[in-house]
Symmetry: C2
Subunit: 361 residues, 2 copies
Amino acid sequence: MQAEPQAFDRVLSSMCTEPHPAAREAAERFLATNPGDPATYPTVADLEEEAVSRLGDLVGLDDPTGYVASGGTEANIQAVRIARDRTGRESANVVMPESGHFSFQKAADVLGIELRIVPVDDELRADLEAVRECVDENTALVVGVAGTTEYGRVDPIPELGEIAREVDALLHVDAAWGGFVLPFTDHEWRFDHAPVDTMTVDPHKMGQAAVPAGGLLVREESLLDTLAIDTPYLESTSQATLTGTRSGAGVASAVAALRELWPDGYRTQYVRSQRNAEWLADAFAQRGYDVVDPELPLVAVSIPERLFYDLREEGWRISRTGSGELRIVCMPHVTRAMLESFVADVDRLAKPASAAVATND
Amino acid sequence: MQAEPQAFDRVLSSMCTEPHPAAREAAERFLATNPGDPATYPTVADLEEEAVSRLGDLVGLDDPTGYVASGGTEANIQAVRIARDRTGRESANVVMPESGHFSFQKAADVLGIELRIVPVDDELRADLEAVRECVDENTALVVGVAGTTEYGRVDPIPELGEIAREVDALLHVDAAWGGFVLPFTDHEWRFDHAPVDTMTVDPHKMGQAAVPAGGLLVREESLLDTLAIDTPYLESTSQATLTGTRSGAGVASAVAALRELWPDGYRTQYVRSQRNAEWLADAFAQRGYDVVDPELPLVAVSIPERLFYDLREEGWRISRTGSGELRIVCMPHVTRAMLESFVADVDRLAKPASAAVATND
């Protein structure tokens, strides 16, 4: 095959990364297995149990249940599906801050549920008063985000859980991206300590596993069981996943990464990524750009639209928030040298920031 | 990592197989790409277009639209979702023969649609009279199967299409497993010639690509567009897939397999698999077992339950139909030598068939 995957040396927009070498090796070895058919592929089925158990260690949940999903979108859809089916109400709704991922819009469309979107506060976190006013007796689920896609912010999870409990709704935490860095921050809640019912935490993002390795964790096994469909022709008798055949590569790769990196390797990586984010934020601030403080290793900064496209022309893979800020995700493959090179391109291509803003905005 | 994926030398129940070497090589090279974010990963996005175009060649559909899904389950769910959204009716229903895959039950649960299951005829194909009686003005979709999971049978697709048209429903063909062998059989309908609206055809089954590489093909681009969700923070502006991040390995692997094998390699493989299936069916028939004639390379045979479990004890990965028959899928990795060894175990472990049936039933 002639086509080559582009190198990661200019990818600043992705929440995926180069798999850890051990994760890549495991993915390649388990490429031809299917955890969706555990009786036929027992080794990878055992590995999936190990993956879920290790993800439980990561988020602080003893005796977790769940599975390795195709990604955060599937995990989020499944969390909404669990909540919908638990209420059994036609008119069930889900309450989510506007910082929630677009996969919840997809979940609402697919599952036929009402999605109620509430504002965030000045810190870009779920506005608790707004959430409280929005929930009602038909609320099946409250969503909190731990590491928002656009700004890397962490919602007040314990407080969201209390609001959910008051209306007998479940609490889902979307930590698809943030899950692998949170344990090293000063957020004191863990899955066990907060009233979290379901959580998305993706090995193939900050966990350095190969795609596809999303993670869905569920506190009560019975909640996951409600999704199970009979599988007549398989020796396994039921299936709670959204997909059928699944990638053994993702599962094996997640286990390999977790064995290799939890906790010390992930801690080291978090420190490195966070320092890079802070360095980049400072660099932009010094140049007069308006920067959103990087709570987690993700930098959002207002730059002129033309500069954004000029930087793309240079081959940088960058993206923008819904409000138009440049958004840089400091994934493990993003080195300080890459960021220095990027900032040098900013300096070369930008007019002085204040002038540029004046001309372009 | 100590655990090893089991070898394929005793796997007789799987609809997946060892990837073709070219497909494996491509999967390994594209392991760290994400076609769910085409602006960040443009090479694999181009490959996905090529995959869809080549799948169009395979099934006989000019100018196809679609995508490489996580597998047949996602493709089937999406086909039902397209049909549901097209009607916009709360009370929409899907009509499917009982030979349809359990993923449609999953689709019905997820999408909140009524699934109407009709009987098959004596040849284990959709009973047209039953389908005709079952459809009504709320029917959004009629499902036909081209290569049923349990018996490898092909429903009368053109006739099902006519029935669908009469009630303004769509026709979906589930050729997840059969799609890569049908072109070499004497079934004269192709996607272009029959009123097929959507089709599932999975490269990671008979197409010899690596998991995850399912395929969804759609005749009218507008039908797929109805599924699109806005993706604010990606440079790509919308996403019609069910999952978000997706495996570049699956996409690259599908293209590599299709480039390498279509059409001659697939034809050779079909002939070999079909001969193996007929050889195995004959071997069982000669021993007095009741065999379902293998229309495609899949053999179903009634054997005593104890013999089934004794064979599993020998390490054979085998499964059964809902009615209890042993079910052997003659995938590319299944050789004549494997089948000879399997039949030798049957001979060694079985009482004479007639006696065994008499004692066990």
